[in-house]
């Protein structure tokens, strides 16, 4: 059972994008950072444990020649071995900041060279894998940046080609030992999922075909890919082989966000139908198959949810943002 906690007020409402909430826990200082995209700007908010808002900061996409200011598509904190970077993707390019958003460390402009005039050019989909940060783009290419332990000397090390349509989301998992096959999965607008193995050179392991429905959000847990689709379904696949293990008719509208609590194997799904569901993933001991159990469902009345994240790795609290809502809703278990 979850109960509603105090909401955190935002200066501007959340935009109707997918994966529009990022949460960073800073246990050392007992703080939680939240990041929400408003439109042409992104808001960073830090809060104390009881939901007391402390500091707010606004970041803008770098200006360019155009009629209106460029829109931001996603904001996400990337936890790397030696540092934490805040990555902002927009229609102009990719901006990387220090974790509190104070200093821009790197700027990468998108190359719109072979885009047709009807195509929107943007970057979307951010994840960190080891010392790399991977960012997806409108063309389907995934840019891999090599991040040094300190300083702004960030280098674009690789461009992964696996998708034909715009990338929507990327998920990674720390490598599970030597025999780990796959630790990164990318999703795109056609529903295609690409499973990769990270390393100095990324290798494409499997491709899981889509069925014409976009896949806005994807997560990876212990070799299982959890993908949320535009028709409200959540599907779990085996990452190494691509076999479908579980199919959940979870929502009545498009799913906009998925999140994992890795310690307990809990999956959070949020969709535009105003519902947020929590599922428990497990492996059955006899057959070794992935099993799913529904834990909890929460309705956020009259709100088209656009982002949802667990606020701690044990899954005992989560936060939700909604379109046109100028606050972050928080729920914690009793």
């Amino acid at each position: 059972m979850f109960r509603r906690e105090r909401s955190l007020p935002l200066r501007g409402s959340a935009a109707a994008l997918c994966n529009n909430l990022s949460v960073l826990q800073v246990p050392a200082r007992n703080l939680t950072h939240f990041g929400v995209v408003h439109g042409p700007s992104a808001q960073l908010l830090s809060a104390a444990p009881e939901g007391v808002p402390l500091a707010q900061r606004k970041l803008h996409a770098k200006e360019g020649a155009g009629v209106s200011p460029p829109l931001i598509t996603q904001v996400h904190w990337c936890v790397l071995p030696f540092r934490v970077l805040l990555v902002l993707t927009s229609h102009r390019g990719i901006q990387m900041y220090e974790s509190d958003g104070s200093v821009m460390v790197y700027w990468h402009a998108l190359d719109s060279g072979d885009a047709s005039p009807v195509q929107a050019v943007f970057a979307r989909g951010i994840a960190s894998s080891g010392r790399f940060i991977c960012v997806g783009t409108w063309s389907g290419r995934v840019l891999v940046f090599d991040i040094p332990a300190k300083g702004p000397n960030i280098v674009l090390s690789e461009e992964l080609a696996g998708h034909q349509t715009s990338v929507t989301d990327i998920a990674t998992e720390p490598a599970q030992g030597q025999d780990c096959v796959a630790d990164m999965v990318t999703a795109d607008d056609s529903g295609l999922l690409c499973v990769w193995r990270s390393g100095p050179e990324f290798k494409l392991m499997t491709q899981i075909p889509g069925f014409g429905v976009p896949c806005p959000s994807v997560q990876l847990w212990h070799g299982t890919v959890a993908a949320g689709y535009g028709d409200g379904q959540v599907r779990l696949y085996e990452a190494s082989t691509g076999t479908l293990h579980v199919q959940i008719s979870a929502h009545a509208r498009a799913i906009c966000a998925l999140d994992l609590a890795p310690e307990v194997g809990k999956l959070l799904s949020a969709a535009e139908d105003t519902f947020v569901h929590i599922w428990k993933l497990s492996r059955s001991p006899e057959s070794g198959h992935t099993e799913v159990e529904h834990c909890h469902g929460e309705c956020v009345p009259d709100t088209q949810v656009c982002g949802a994240r667990f606020c701690d790795p044990s899954g005992s609290s989560f936060a939700v943002t909604g379109y046109d809502l100028a606050e972050i809703l928080r729920f914690s278990s009793v």
Partner: protein, 476 residues
């Protein structure tokens, strides 16, 4: 002068001999890379402007980039209505919105809502049938004009709310009807809130196309005794099917997100929505958790587990919290057909009073005011595209002395005056006060286009012939 010296091929034209006792003259122009004289000394980025005003300089987008051979200026050629465009029009600047295909859908749906409201008010105010029909026919004919539609369907960014408001202001005045500022404001509020509601409640992103088709079906019903206009509307149907019919679901999702970003933070309360319990008293729309699921979606509540061979081994049901049922059938995307979806149909046909409430919406407007106050140095660029779009609008001059009339969106004149006085500052559609452009040539072009729009009996105070676009927007 440094600008000219930078390019190796750019040589200043020979100077006239220095005059006695006077400082040497600056070269008026330079030689282009092709060896001829630069033919646009007033706008050339390589030459400093004569009065050296940095603000104006920054306003020209081409000045931001060093001129490279092969670089086209971003200024489009202004088309005088009725003439062919001179050569291919330059590409619009790189898109900063999510989707460049959104403008036609936005324009047609908002236009459809406008016609619904005008039709209802014309009936409520007992305007004689022939005048009412003429007004609707004129507006529809202007909206669906072939050249205008051509410009509209070119891939381009969404205009700002102010620019869009200008187009509808023009459209509403395309006939013998007049609207006061307060009535026009209210009309625009109703239009935008209605379409925002429709986009928000669309079951699938692709259903926004069905909403557009609902509007077009109703518009065909408004047209009377004019097969030419009927044909124009059907032509637009075909164009919509051509552009949007084959788009994948991901593209429609982008279009939906673009539209929602455009309508973000608008919470005007509309009495017809409040009465129908479709909008809450805080201005937010009610999102139902019951009813049919979108076509192609399964009713939520089932977990299916499979083994390695793909055989279903376990089926578990869970309680999802809503009360959904399967979708009965898919709406038709053909020229004629049952759209199934009710969004986009005329909800004003019941002859109910339509009011908007302005109060109580100010809390969420903080972000909006910031957008309108901050001066936009590239607003001129947008005006260029606006001028091109409206250059395609052919407003028919009324033949003979047709007496105009004023339509009131409120129930009484006093109410209209009161509304104009009490409209909250944040909600007024103030246009940015842009200084008159230095470009004399462009000014004249715009003036000529706007001159074509002039309707003969216009009760405007400063009715100088050929109001230019900027002055007209300042008047709003």
């Amino acid at each position: 002068m440094e600008g000219v010296a930078r390019m190796s091929w750019a040589r200043p034209s020979p100077l006239p001999p220095a005059r006695e006792g006077k400082p040497p003259r600056e070269p008026r122009t330079h030689t282009t890379y092709r060896g001829g004289r630069c033919r646009r000394p007033n706008q050339c980025p390589l030459r400093a402007p004569p009065n050296k005003r940095p603000a104006d300089w920054l306003l020209r987008p081409s000045a931001a980039l060093p001129w490279q051979p092969g670089n086209r200026t971003r200024r489009p050629s202004i088309q005088a209505s009725g003439s062919q465009s001179r050569g291919p029009s330059p590409a619009p600047p790189a898109s900063d919105t999510m989707s460049v295909r959104t403008l036609p859908l936005l324009f047609l749906n908002l236009g459809g809502e406008m016609l619904y409201i005008l039709d209802q008010r014309l009936r409520a105010q007992n305007i004689p049938g022939d005048k009412a029909r003429k007004v609707l026919n004129d507006i529809i004919s202007t909206m669906f004009n072939r050249k205008f539609m051509e410009e509209l369907f070119k891939p381009q960014e969404l205009y700002s709310k102010k620019a869009l408001r200008t187009i509808y202001d023009r459209l509403a005045h395309a006939s013998i009807m007049r609207l006061n500022q307060a009535s026009m404001d209210k009309l625009y509020d109703l239009m935008t809130m209605a379409f925002k509601y429709q986009v928000l409640l669309c079951p699938r992103p692709k259903d926004v196309l069905l909403v557009t088709f609902n509007h077009l079906d109703a518009i065909k019903g408004f047209i009377q005794d004019s097969p030419a206009i009927q044909h124009q509307v059907e032509e637009t149907f075909r164009q919509l099917t051509e552009v949007y019919g084959g788009l994948p679901a991901g593209e429609f999702q982008l279009i939906r997100q673009t539209l929602l970003i455009f309508f973000q933070d608008l919470h005007i309360r509309v009495s017809i929505f409040l009465k129908d319990k479709v909008q809450n008293s805080n201005g937010r729309f009610v999102l139902p958790v019951s009813g049919p699921v979108p076509w192609g979606t399964e009713v939520p509540g089932l977990i299916r587990m499979f083994n390695d061979k793909g055989k279903e081994v376990k089926k578990v049901e869970f309680k999802h919290g809503g009360h959904y049922v399967t979708a009965p059938k898919e709406g038709s995307f053909e020229l004629y057909g049952d759209r199934v979806l009710k969004l986009g149909t005329n909800m004003y046909s019941m002859n109910r009073p339509v009011e908007t409430h302005m109060s109580g919406a100010s809390k969420s407007l903080a972000s909006r005011t910031q957008e309108s106050i901050a001066p936009n140095p590239l607003a001129k660029e947008e005006l260029n595209f606006l001028a091109r779009l409206m250059g395609g609008m052919e407003i028919k001059k009324p033949s003979g002395p047709e007496p105009g009339f004023r339509l009131n969106l409120f129930t009484t004149d006093e109410e209209e005056e009161q509304a104009a006085l009490t409209r909250p500052e944040e909600l007024s559609y103030e246009v940015i006060n842009i200084q008159a452009t230095q470009d004399q040539q462009r000014n004249e072009e715009l003036a000529r286009i706007m001159g074509e729009f002039e309707v003969t009996d216009q009760p405007r105070q400063s009715a100088s012939k050929g109001d230019d676009l900027l002055a007209m927007m300042d008047e709003l």
